[in-house]
């Protein structure tokens, strides 16, 4: 029991960080923001699910997926399909030539609900599908890729292509998916008006609680043997394989977990924002979500949340007043984080705290963040894992 608690919340400082985050999300934000702003924060937090998943699969697993929008989108679309069917009852849609089907289907001359929409009339099935469809899809991609040992840049490119394909498909099949506008005009969940202020408050708290649950689950995974194996994999994949592990299974697992988290985020997005569209599926949102995780610190579950909030706050603030400047800033953010702060916010805070306590960060603490040990006399130039490791050790390693 004690070990379980330790694995869920981590060390005392980890627990403190988690409690601070919980306090910020559950107390500070709701007390200081009006419902419009709070709803906006809720929307950002749905992206944080994706970022937390990326910490697992990219930060720890070394698997960079540029297609997390796929899973966010699939989760969101599953929820949106249910809500749309509820909003399209025969009475409300009586003016359509075929009442009882979603409006965009009617505009596209469909006269019958397509077969894959039918099960989404059931809420229980929808909940199941939100979790299962994206995870299963991730499982299929994972098996196809990792069993064939496709990793690194190739994996990134292929996930990106899948995201592109899915977007083109959704936009192209207007009658089935709502096309480029997506599925809009969602009103009620089981008769409960999700656009009312009360519903927005409730959904915000549900969203924040789910996010915290995902962080705790992520921490459980990372604190145990799987976490150590992922670090080991990133460093010396062959050694793990030749210790009797089927490496691909661990990669598939962590990729599926990341997809599952993203899907939950997607579903919560649909509920809080009231629509879902292909612009949250494709290449651009997928890679932006990677930068959320990178800004927070790619090996910090909690940092990912702050990173997401910070970047999105910046985006909203700037794109309202200086839309042109924002794209320059976003570009600079990508470059700056990668070049100067590969450990993101979490890295900054960690090294600052250590500097204050010890005068300079002790070596062991630095290497624990995932940086290569600086004392190694000749880091192998062509190391197979050179990719995922973070050779930029913070200051203090060069003695």
């Amino acid at each position: 029991m004690i070990t379980l608690t330790r694995r869920l919340v981590g060390s005392r400082s980890d627990l403190a960080a988690l409690l601070v985050l919980a306090a910020v999300l559950l107390v500070v934000m709701p007390l200081t923001l009006d419902i419009f702003r709070l709803n906006l924060v809720g929307k950002y937090l749905t992206y944080a699910f994706v970022a937390v998943g990326l910490v697992l699969c990219w930060g720890y697993g070394g698997i960079l997926s540029l297609g997390q929008g796929i899973f966010f989108g699939l989760g969101g679309y599953c929820m949106a399909m249910f809500l749309k069917l509820e909003a399209s009852d025969p009475v409300t849609t009586a003016i359509q030539s075929t009442p009882g089907i979603p409006d965009f289907m009617d505009w596209n001359q469909l006269t019958e609900l397509p077969w894959f929409w039918v099960p989404f009339e059931s809420f229980a099935f929808t909940l199941f599908a939100i979790l299962a469809v994206p995870t299963l899809f991730a499982f299929l991609i994972g098996v196809a890729m990792f069993k064939r040992r496709v990793t690194g840049v190739y994996f990134a490119i292929i996930t990106q292509s899948v995201a592109a394909i899915l977007t083109i498909l959704i936009i192209g099949q207007q009658g089935l998916t709502g096309g480029v506008n997506g599925i809009t005009d969602l009103r009620t969940l089981l008769g409960w008006d999700i656009r009312s202020d009360g519903a927005k408050y409730l959904l915000y708290f549900l969203n924040a609680a789910l996010l915290l649950a995902c962080i705790v689950a992520g921490r459980y995974i990372l604190s145990g043997k799987v976490g150590k194996l992922l670090l080991a994999l990133k460093d010396k994949e062959d050694r793990v394989r030749f210790s009797g592990y089927d490496v691909s299974n661990f990669k598939i697992f962590v990729f599926c977990v990341a997809a599952l988290f993203s899907a939950i985020g997607g579903a919560m997005f649909t509920l809080q924002v009231g629509f879902m569209s292909p612009s949250f599926v494709g290449i651009v949102p997928s890679i932006e979500m990677v930068i959320f995780a990178a800004v927070g610190g790619r090996v910090s579950l909690i940092g990912a949340v702050y990173g997401t909030l910070l970047v999105n706050y910046g985006k909203t603030a700037f794109s309202e007043s200086f839309p042109e400047l924002w794209l320059f800033l976003m570009g600079a953010l990508f470059i700056g984080v990668v070049m100067a702060f590969p450990d993101g916010l979490a890295g900054l805070i960690r090294s600052e705290r250590l500097r204050r306590v010890f005068g300079r960060p002790p070596l062991a603490a630095v290497t624990r963040t995932g940086a290569l040990a600086a004392r190694d006399p000749a880091p192998p130039a062509a190391s197979a894992s050179a990719d995922a490791a973070l050779p930029h050790a913070p200051t203090g390693t060069d003695r």
Binding site: I221, G224, K225, D235, S243, G244, A373, D376
Partner: protein, 250 residues
């Protein structure tokens, strides 16, 4: 593929070949390794020694021939299955997890919970803890269990990797140049360690240091241009003219 018969040997390699774009790195090699034997493989650079180990442990797929372990065909098994059959492999450059502590390196190598869900709910109990400490002791690292493995010296890293294999208790252990880059004292300790290790398992060692080879070997296999040039006890090999010409002479 050549059909092969059952043998009394632990490892039976028969007519094994592999070619890379036409170049035969290992060419029709046949060799047998007995239970509890310490076999040393020597040969000039490019003789195919490391490739031979790669073939046995499944890192490289054979073009032709068979490898049988305890009369079980392992030629086409994936790497992790070969390991689970009981074959451990140490790489030429120390291959350990630099970001994990010595203890964690051994913990991750402990042969339990190798599936994803097993690993998810795995925790170190007293038996495992005792085993990890015992192994650490035997590889001279009992005092630095909590040290980041990346901070170990080169020789200590080699030992740690050997320890990570020992904790899996393989029946066949393959070591690629285990004393390369070690000090004289470390070499002596390693020789002693190897002798202890091979009391209850077979060991294949690739080594260049002839003094070290003489100290440990039962039998020696000499590879040259991907083929077996000679095989026998060290005393015989030393006086074999072909071996002197291609390898020992210079």
């Amino acid at each position: 593929m050549t059909a092969s018969s059952n043998t009394d040997f632990l490892l039976a390699i028969e007519n094994l070949s592999v070619s890379f774009d036409g170049f035969k790195a290992v060419n029709d090699v046949t060799a047998y390794v007995d239970y509890n034997e310490l076999r040393v493989v020597i040969g000039p650079n490019g003789a195919g020694k490391t490739t031979l180990l790669d073939l046995i442990c499944g890192k490289t797929a054979a073009s032709d021939g068979s490898i049988r372990f305890k009369n079980r065909e392992i030629t086409r098994l994936p790497e992790h299955r070969i390991v689970r059959e009981g074959i451990g492999r140490k790489f030429q450059t120390p291959s350990i997890y630099e970001n994990l502590s010595v203890y964690e390196n051994l913990e991750v190598s402990y042969p339990a919970a190798r599936g994803v869900f097993g690993a998810l709910f795995f925790h170190v109990d007293e038996t495992i803890d005792a085993r990890i400490r015992e192994i650490a002791e035997s590889i001279f690292l009992g005092d630095c269990l909590d040290l980041e493995a990346g901070l170990l010296s080169h020789g200590q890293k080699q030992w740690l990797e050997i320890g990570m294999l020992l904790i899996q208790d393989p029946e066949l252990l393959m070591l690629d140049e285990p004393v390369a880059g070690m000090s004289v004292k470390e070499r002596e300790q390693t020789a002693e360690l190897l002798k202890r290790i091979c009391r209850d398992r077979a060991v294949i060692v690739i080594e260049h240091d002839m003094e070290f080879v003489e100290r440990i070997a039962n039998r020696v296999t000499v590879l040259h241009q991907g083929q077996v040039l000679a095989e026998g006890p060290m005393s015989e090999i030393k006086s074999n003219e072909k071996v002197i010409e291609v390898y020992l002479g210079h």
